[in-house]
Symmetry: C2
Subunit: 354 residues, 2 copies
Amino acid sequence: MHPASPAIDTESVTALLERGRTLATPVLRAAIDRLAPPMNTVAAYHFGWIDAEGHPAAGDGGKAVRPALALLSAEAAGQAPEAGIPGAVAVELVHNFSLLHDDLMDGDEQRRHRDTVWKVHGPAQAILVGDALFALANEILLELGTVEAGRATRRLTLATRKLIDGQAQDISYEHRERVTVEECLEMEGNKTGALLACAVSIGAVLGGADDRTADTLEKYGHHLGLAFQAVDDLLGIWGNPDATGKQTWSDLRQRKKSLPVVAALAAGGPASERLAHILAADAKKTETEIADFTEEEFASRAALIEEAGGRDWTSQEARRQHATAVAALNDVEMPERIRAQLVALADFVVVRER
Amino acid sequence: MHPASPAIDTESVTALLERGRTLATPVLRAAIDRLAPPMNTVAAYHFGWIDAEGHPAAGDGGKAVRPALALLSAEAAGQAPEAGIPGAVAVELVHNFSLLHDDLMDGDEQRRHRDTVWKVHGPAQAILVGDALFALANEILLELGTVEAGRATRRLTLATRKLIDGQAQDISYEHRERVTVEECLEMEGNKTGALLACAVSIGAVLGGADDRTADTLEKYGHHLGLAFQAVDDLLGIWGNPDATGKQTWSDLRQRKKSLPVVAALAAGGPASERLAHILAADAKKTETEIADFTEEEFASRAALIEEAGGRDWTSQEARRQHATAVAALNDVEMPERIRAQLVALADFVVVRER
């Protein structure tokens, strides 16, 4: 899980993530308080602030990479980090809107170690609250009433459309026998890259940055997102369940055509061909049959993916995307301290284990 | 179905609706063309431009009251009707986003004489395409790049949140034994009033109208929406299926707590009490048992609602809301020709039979 293994300053990254969480959460909570019952409760459950019975909980709200990026984005444009808060909150709202709807569409029953919203509160609430979070994201930005807020909202809207495109591609790929590496990268760029890119530009745009600066920051964020997703795809097969909060071999259980799988299938050679043969047979099985696989059956598939080169290729891809992201930062003028923090965050993204 | 029976100029209203359709549809189609496959096809099916097999169709795209209002809204602010086109398209996109999601949440299988999107293309496409239409609505407005566009988008976002609140209330009322007239009116104000109100202000806001003017126009739109919904509730029970495109006794089949029903239950007296008794027993029946009711069984319930005064009350309510709407127009300066057309549209809304 250490594809790049750069020497990162963990303390500084932890502090950045913590700052993002500390500054964004109160504003996020106030936004959720605007929702009419029962949507406010359902949203609070989703964010981990209360449990299924409505009792306060100190849940896992996720890594909070996006809010941290939005604050750094404001600082990259010479503003105080606080100028990025509405952007941080808006991006978190859109991210969670997509989680609510995707979990329902994908039938995923667990997220962050807990039952998903549609599982606890039903499909209608998952749809409604997702819709409400999307609307709130625009509301939070547009009530700033500035031209910059309009530009930021437009960028967020375009990123959201890509998010939706990515989910549409993801769904259509499930029914296809073969997906190319290029198609998988395009899907991941839409599903993960677009919103991370927006997180990196939104603070700067709110702070008055021009479109060229915003576009370059988005280039960093887009490649950071692809690096992030490559690592996620590695964790989805070889991750430690205690750290990821997912089952062992999670993506294999869902027969996901993630990067290691498509890269292994594209590689050719005996292991690749054996893998193709086995996965073609798996595709004909029912979900229950797959769920009944032993640990060894999943482990042998994972071993084949690795033997065919899918694991190495994905590790290298994470490193390549990381390098492209970091290089993009050289095309934007910003305080050196901020550049170093953006580099540290990129380093963190590729070495994380959850 | 003639609660107000004003002498309206049908030709002029028909021309207004036709103008809205003619100016908005090409821009709406171009917006839908931006969607990636298969979402563009699913959206085209929803709008009635193609059939379930993908062949071109000249489907029923609805009455198109909202686009007509958005163009008049621009004219009320002294602009050409064309200045309201992006607003007309954005409001139509939000309206159809809500139809896609509501039909899925409500399990409705038919809309505008055709199978609904979730029924033909599955729940995931109904969610995805709904999300995409909502995003497109903001995109269409914000790419104008003006301060006015930001203000218009903010108003549209707030209206959308009310729309979502209204659907949440509608869902929660289904599980309640008793709903008050006030609760029903609040729900209908959110579900129908808010977006009609936005349609009436959005063209003016894009044309530079101040907030006071926009708020007053919204007051007209809000009460127009309540009049519209009261008539819809009458048509939902006593409408002619050939005109409405719905089944006979449509709202009774769905056990909807619409205005005539809640007003009848609130009225007291023997018919009201008998109705309450019957509906309480119906509430314990399964959907299949209700579906198997004879025409006479529905007719007897409709007769009790009428005898208890629910039909008359709702007709009067439509007339009251119509009067409040029209009166609000006196608080805005606008060309007399435009005021007359807004009055004609309000008249049309309360006398329509579909």
